[in-house]
Amino acid sequence: MQPLDDVVKEFLVESLENLDRLDRALVELEQDPHDGENLASIFRTIHTLKGTCGFLGFSRLEAISHVGENLLSRMRDGLLVLDAPITTGLLEMVDAIRQILAAVERTGAENDTDYGALVARLNELNRGPVPPAAVAAPEPSAVAVAPPDTVTVAPPEAVAATPAAAGREDRRPGVADTTLRVDVGQLDKLMNLVGELVLARNQIIQFTATQTDNAFVGATQRLNLVTSELQEGVMKTRMQPIDNVWSKFPRVVRDLATTCGKQVRLEMVGKDTELDKTIIEAIKDPLTHVVRNSVDHGIEPPAVRLARGKPAEGVVHLRAFHEGGQINIEITDDGAGIDPDKVRRKAVDRGLVTAEQAARMSDHDVLRLIFMPGFSTAEAITNVSGRGVGMDVVRTNIERIGGTVDILSTVGAGSTLKIRIPLTLAIIPALMVATGGEVFALPQVNLLELVRLEGEQARTGLERIGNASFYRLRGNLLPLVPLAQELGLTSQCDPSVVNIVVLKADDRQFGLRVDAINDTEEIVVKPLGKQLKSVQVFAGATIMGDGHVALILDVNRIAQQARVFGVGERSVKATAAAASKQGPADTQTWLLFRGGGADRLAIPLKLVARLEEFATADIERSGGHEVVQYRGEIMPLINLGRFLGGADVAPADPRQVIVFSDKGHSAGLVVEQILDIVSQSISVTRSHARAGVLGSAVIQQRVTDLLDVSAIVRHAVPDFQADSAA
């Protein structure tokens, strides 16, 4: 036999299940022929079966179920009342279908038994009310009423019994036998139990470390292995690709686009990202809503798009991926975007915020107002959206499963809705770290590397700018976040040792300073009580091998709370593509500072070698230039003010100096104050360009001049070839 197609397999499983139900339902219907609901359900089942048969090319099956459907349809319309003969006829039909399905399962094709008699009889039953005598009469008399050729009714029945029975003898596992439908609740229970088992395993492994009995250690190892495999297996039973939800979107988008008179293309990336079954269920509705929103509100009509210089066809882009132990789903459209000022006005109109509050809020915060109940920016209420019950419901649904929603938008370029859903049920590998006497778990997915500085290195390895500290990791400045400080704990760390966990959050790196780094452990993520909802830096808690509870750190939240990436960083990815069309732009990290009469200056951080402070006493003069002795060489200091036509940088003590290095040469730029380090994509306006200034850009919502580092340094130190990357 040829192997069965997946579609056919599924059809078989489903149909056989339905047939079993049909048997029961028909019998029940016979007891109460006027149960319309039951009748409708039977009708639907047969109808579905017929449809699928036609689709798969099982003509014989289709023919039989078609007659059955006709019969049922008449009953449903009240033209016929179910009686014993009809019931028998229908049950025989069910048996016949079952037979054919069995044949399909065995051979991949329908059998060639003749069911003409059955079809004829069903037709006969369909033709009109059977004489009253027959209604009351038992089944045999129904046969008698039938035309002569129905005498052959019995044989098909007999045939029906024999192959089925024969088939049962030499039964290899059929499709229906290898697939089970299991209650999700049952799987949940199983999952919880496996979680407990993993914890018990962890405890035993810890205990084993103190044991010397080889047999015992061996048994523990086996337990360890089996548990891991079991855990993986159970997890798998619950996972489904997100495509299960997405698969219906092309149709949704198409229909909606047609209704709205728009042209929309749907792109999907990460279809096979697997999510827990319960999460799939929970995100179905919110996702559909967001996609509809994108088409309805986001994408403009073709004429408008063309007028704005965009292709007539809009794009809605769905993307799903795992990050930081969470599932991220992004819905991006290249439509009109959301105008923050419009949102401000609307929010004030609706009384959601006061005018003063609205003016004070950043654009990003303003956009988030759309998640408030009773907010909708749609100009006209369409039949698809705009009733003001939209985004707050999306948010509520996502938050119910412990997720978050965020929106980024650029006017004219489109919007991105980001949904992050935690893996609440998951078991994840984590690194255990200690700070302030407490142990915390860091999800392994966020982890990049570990750095440990000792002795001399620990004292000098860290750079400071104001309150912020940095570590130079292979030439790049890595912002450091002391965990103790973020959590309001007191570090109990030996000052001669610095432990840095290099983490990734939102595609960026930062270093978390912890007191000690322990080992890795498989942990079961457990949710925190509602009382702790306000503490957002924890993703959950877990129980360690020794039975103690440890909190799981939410790396992205910590990065946000510590503001390591500055205020504007979140919009980087979404705006980068849009900005590139509008002008020269670059996503990079900028060092912001003040001095020489300019309030805000920026240079790319990658040009910066070090940030130093020099006491005025250390500054010497050579050939009319200020110099300092720095790392065994003489480094010229450049006073910023002189090149910008402003006042000299005030001679503070110590002086803030930005050090540039190239091919063994260094030069220092004296500035008044280091302000911040931000990562942002910017578009440069050249109109303000002048000597030493490349142009200006908006960084952190403020106009900032971009300093032409190479020009300044070359001017001051002719033999210095600073990287001209700026």
């Binding site: 009580g529 503490v535 103690h548 509870v549 909190l551």
Partner: protein, 151 residues
């Protein structure tokens, strides 16, 4: 015949409290706890209750009573709420009492601060008063409200 209710009772700073026995899951001894940095003040920590992580609320702090003195270890009264189970830390466990609805009176105005919002009323028992605690309200901490507002 007046209706009867059963109350699990406990002592806090010489005050006699009770929660309806049906909402109490169990009473356990003091457990080692994991502190939760940045948590609302009333949260004492997290305990491991047979694999389930339960937030322990220090009832003294929750009710605005003075801090527990000395090294007396509090007891955990684990109660069920609509938002899951929480553990309430109390000084001492009392008996399960059967009280008469006829003895119930609304909380007197004179009860101070936080306690007043959390006490549904008072049962006048022989020789002393039993303060009936509202478990649902007790489990809701100010932090929750603050978050809602910020969002």
């Amino acid at each position: 015949m007046t209706s009867q209710k059963q109350f699990s009772t406990f002592v806090l700073d010489d005050l006699y409290f009770g929660v309806e026995v049906l909402s109490v899951q169990e009473v356990i001894r003091y457990q080692d706890m994991t502190r939760v940095p940045l948590a609302p003040n009333a949260v004492q920590g997290l305990i491991n209750l047979r694999g389930q992580i339960v937030t322990a609320i220090d009832l003294r702090r929750r009710l605005g009573l003075p801090e527990r003195q000395g090294d007396v270890r509090p007891m955990n009264v684990v109660v069920r709420t609509t938002d899951g189970i929480v553990s309430l830390l109390v000084d001492e466990i009392g008996d399960v009492l059967e009280v008469d609805e006829a003895d119930f009176e609304r909380a007197p105005e004179t009860i101070s601060g936080a306690a007043r919002a959390l006490v549904t009323g008072v049962y006048k028992l022989k020789g002393r008063l039993l303060l009936a605690l509202d478990v649902e309200q007790t489990a809701v901490l100010e932090g929750d409200v603050a978050t809602e507002r910020r969002n």
